[in-house]
């Protein structure tokens, strides 16, 4: 079979496809080098004459809504991942499509989860043609093994908004699972049995899709306040028994890491933020919900209390630990992208300082600025980092695609990007000569913090100066890598990968930064 794409070398020296799923691509040009042209995409103009004057858009069930929305072969169907590993709706959509005999759909989730692994069967039977979106676990493995008909496309949260806004991806039908909604389609995620806090990942879908379906298990009379999703974008509302399994949507309590090595790394990270002078009155930071990032936030909180310093804002994913900071007055605001536990959901509902945001406000690069650039520090993870500070978050060193990008690329634009990572995991080095997949360019990654020392990007002389006099173990990244290789028995052999490109990795501006090859 003839390939539809050629491979060209982009500005990062990576081989990337010229065409992805029939669409011509722009190879990555460098940070801040690409300027998009033209106008944004727009959905068709609707007339309120075609919608019920009483505001009641409720239809019988999800199948009726999909039929009314005109579901047919080859369409793009989008879902959001606020229900995480507890979501029922993405599976239901493709089960219905299979019943209806519809084929070749493109599934466009904001992220997929292991609970959606049954959609592998719908790719095998032809209902789903391919997935464009972060693929975790079994779906990533399926794509890696070259079994998907189309090419996978991985975008950051901001990149997904950008792709929809710029018309790279046209959503035919958006299905928005909503923990609470009214018959007009106004929806939020603050209450109801499946409460997950907010619906920011579905914002682009509601604004740009041709047809929008809201599915809820908590239908309340108009008005649903606040309307995180505006009913004026919505075509149909469906009531179902359950949109998800609450136990898997948010966790009752969030666990910090118990690993002593990770705690050590987290403590070093907090000390770095303090000693480099980043932790000062009115500062801001973002730390994810991974065990190390949570432990970092706890250490930093103690240091803030000790120094009498307060933050102006902290960016979520929120957890009980950020909520405690807000309630103890250690930060004035949480600007939140997703809530990871019940405390996060409660606080967002109660506290005006706990604000729901979206990929548009926080992360969209092709716009008039975004919040990510204003952060004083972000704390992120990585599967690999190389001696040029380039980082990988999507593949493992054996080439398997196992994780999505999330907001990771968008956060790299903060004033100080810190990756606290173990120098190696079992026998797998995390510090390497060259990353398997380039997801984040080294020029945006400032500090690598491992249990064996801290490496500061030589391009950040200001940070090197700021940390002078601290007793933190500052070392060169080459030194750290040499330590690792001595322990694990030399540098790893490169995996032998197939010719076929199974996925394209997008940069935040819509260009292609790298590609993922089929695992042999």
């Amino acid at each position: 079979m003839k390939r539809e794409y050629e491979l060209v070398e982009n500005a990062a020296g990576r081989q990337v496809p010229t065409v992805v799923n029939g669409k011509k691509q722009v190879p990555y040009k460098g940070v801040g080098k690409h300027r998009p042209e033209g106008n944004k995409a727009a959905p068709p103009i609707a007339s309120s004459a075609d919608y019920p004057a009483d505001g009641n858009k409720v239809v019988k069930d999800l199948r009726a809504a999909l039929e009314a929305a005109g579901l047919r072969d080859g369409m793009t169907i989008s879902t959001h991942h606020h229900l995480r590993n507890g979501d029922f709706i993405a599976n239901a959509i493709f089960d219905i499509a299979a019943e209806m005999g519809v084929k070749d759909l493109m599934w466009f989730p904001s992220a997929s989860f292991p609970c959606q692994a049954q959609n592998i069967a719908h790719m095998d039977n032809g209902v789903i043609h391919h997935i464009e979106g972060s693929m975790n676990g079994p779906l990533g493995r399926y794509c890696s093994e070259g079994k998907m008909r189309g090419m996978g496309v991985l975008r950051s949260h901001g990149g997904r908004y950008q792709a929809v806004q710029d018309g790279e991806v046209h959503i035919d039908i958006a299905v928005i699972a909503a923990p609470t909604a009214d018959p007009f389609g106004n929806a939020n995620a603050l209450t109801g049995p499946s409460a997950c806090g907010l619906l920011g990942f579905a914002l682009a879908d509601s604004q740009y899709a041709d047809k929008v379906i809201v599915v809820t298990d908590n239908l309340i009379p108009f008005p649903c306040i606040p309307w995180q999703i505006q009913g004026n974008y919505v075509d149909y509302v469906v009531e179902v028994d359950r949109i998800g399994d609450p136990a898997k949507i948010v966790s009752g309590t969030t666990q910090i890491t118990r690993s002593p090595d990770r705690q050590l790394i987290a403590e070093l990270t907090a000390r770095f933020v303090r000693d480099a002078g980043i932790m000062k009155e009115g500062f801001s930071f973002q730390a994810g919900a991974g065990g190390t990032a949570l432990a970092f936030a706890i250490y930093l909180k103690e240091m803030m209390k000790e120094a009498g310093v307060k933050a102006r804002f902290v960016r979520g994913g929120s957890t009980q630990y950020l909520v405690e900071m807000l309630e103890e007055g250690l930060t004035e605001y949480i600007l939140d992208g997703q809530t990871f536990d019940l405390e996060g959901v409660r606080s967002m509902g109660e506290n005006p300082g706990h604000v729901w945001t979206s990929p548009f406000t926080s992360y969209n690069y092709n716009g008039k600025g975004f919040f990510g650039t204003m952060l004083d520090a972000v704390v992120l993870g990585a599967t690999e980092v190389d001696v040029n500070f380039n980082a990988n978050v999507v593949t493992h060193s054996d080439g398997l695609l196992l994780h999505g990008i999330g907001g990771w690329q968008n956060c790299l634009f903060s004033k100080c990007t810190i990756l606290p990572i173990p120098a190696f995991r079992d026998r797998i080095p995390v510090l390497v000569d060259e990353v398997t997949t380039l997801v984040g360019p080294g020029e945006l990654i400032d500090v690598i913090i491992t249990e064996r020392g801290i490496a500061i990007n030589p391009a950040r002389q200001d940070l090197l100066d700021a940390i002078k006099g601290s007793d933190l173990p500052i070392r060169s990244i080459q030194d750290l890598k040499a330590d690792v290789e001595k322990i694990v028995g030399g540098p790893p052999a490169r995996p032998s990968l197939g010719e076929k490109v199974v996925a394209a990795i997008k940069w935040v501006d819509g260009t292609v930064i790298d590609s993922v090859r089929q695992v042999a």
């Binding site: 090595d261 995991r425 079992d426 026998r427 249990e451 028995g489």
Partner: protein, 403 residues
């Protein structure tokens, strides 16, 4: 044909590997490997296995390897274990290279505030142990190792001593009791062990027997560094004979107590107040001080109770102990903080040390501070306090210059 097996392959194994060697009469070496790092280190694993089989002169064998990311020295240890289980009379050792970072020494009087216990048959807890800054690490061959794995742990601990950088922590090994103790010593003493911990010590003779064996090994292997001893009192008899134990060998540097076994031995169990062990603990403190050793307290086993640990260390300090055992790296910092002398204590010690040095310079036999005469034991205590203050960062090392 019999099979020799080293390592485990049950659920939850990490940083370790299972190796089964089944010798045959012909057909050469046939290695079947499954490894989670196969793409990166498959060739390295096969190379290690082949080198090992060559050392032991095994030319025909079916070898099964199931690897969960074991480091090279662990793979070597598991292979050696498999071969020695096939042939118990095999004495050759499949040794990884001695790393220069493993060659530092120790001193009789060094600080021993914290000592971190590490299970001897698990590499993954050992590899980063030194990064947490304990005064000592204990590679444990005794209670944390299942009786059926004593042989495997002995080989793994030996390899760890040759490969892992413990970043200046004192390198200790807790050996087994009885006959096993001697086999443990033969395996580990030639590899720069600083202190041997003798468990369940009840008499001075036990200490002497261990010491004699160590001296014999030192002579045989021409080992120049001293190997010190830390007997552990863990029974009523041990507590009663504490001074006999403490004074049994010139190589004793510290005496410690294990309360789990001790309380069981006297027919009770540990309580938070610890009244049941008060006598034994003070007996150990007095025996140790009497024999010129450091008295070291038992471990604090509730890892999540940091406040309880802090209180327990302060109590140990008030009873006269110089150190505490720990089982989790996050306990180390709390132990060091709690052993750090308080400000007023440091201030007074500093002035006494200065007065003492002044008197030395002038050749005076008597140390005085203001109008008060300072007795020699007070000077000794002050020197100790200042050392402790410097070690814990309460006092700068160059404090004399800032006077």
């Amino acid at each position: 044909m019999p099979k020799g097996i080293g390592g485990r392959r049950d659920e939850g194994v990490r940083s370790d590997c299972y190796i089964a060697v089944e010798p045959g009469d012909s057909g050469g070496i046939d290695i079947a490997m499954k490894s989670k790092v196969e793409a990166m280190y498959g060739a390295s694993i096969i190379d290690i296995v082949k080198r090992g089989l060559e050392l032991y002169g095994i030319e025909n064998a079916a070898v099964e390897v199931e690897d969960q990311g074991a480091l090279p020295f662990t793979i070597m240890a598991r292979l050696e274990t498999a071969v020695k289980r096939l042939n118990p009379s095999e004495t050759r050792e499949f040794l990884p290279e001695m790393q220069p970072e493993c060659l530092y020494g120790t001193e009789r009087g060094r600080m021993r505030r914290s000592r971190l216990y590490l299970p001897g048959n698990e590499t993954r807890f050992m590899i980063n142990a030194g990064l947490h800054g304990p005064d000592g690490v204990i590679l444990d061959l005794e209670d944390s190792v299942h009786p059926s794995e004593k042989d495997a742990a002995r080989i793994l601990v030996r390899n760890a001593l040759r490969q892992i950088d413990f970043f200046g922590a004192e390198r200790m090994v807790r050996i087994n009791q009885g006959e096993l103790a001697f086999r443990d010593l033969e395996s580990i003493v030639p590899h720069n062990v600083h202190i041997v911990l003798i468990p369940k010590c009840e008499t001075g003779d036990q200490v002497r027997a261990i010491d004699e064996k160590i001296q014999a090994i030192r002579k045989e292997h021409r080992i120049e560094n001293e190997v010190f001893l830390m007997p552990i009192v863990e029974s009523s008899l041990g507590a009663i004979n504490a001074y006999d134990i403490a004074s049994a060998s010139p190589n004793n540097v510290a005496l410690t107590i294990g309360l789990e076994d001790y309380t069981a031995d006297i027919g009770t169990r540990r309580t938070p107040e610890g009244r049941e062990s008060f006598w034994a603990r003070t007996a150990v403190v007095n025996a140790a001080r009497g024999a010129g050793l450091q008295p070291i307290d038992t471990v604090f086993s509730d890892v999540s109770d940091t406040e309880g640990l802090r209180k327990s260390v302060l109590e140990a300090k008030s009873l006269g102990f110089d150190g505490k055992g720990c089982i989790h790296p996050r306990q180390i910092k709390i132990i060091h903080e709690a052993f750090a002398p308080e400000e007023a204590e440091v201030e007074r010690a500093r002035r006494i040390v200065l007065a003492f040095e002044e008197a030395e310079k002038k050749g005076l036999g008597v140390v005085s501070l203001g109008s008060k005469m300072i007795d020699p034991p007070v000077v000794k205590r002050a020197l100790h306090t200042v050392d402790m203050a410097v070690a814990t960062g309460v006092l700068n090392a160059d404090w004399r210059d800032s006077e």
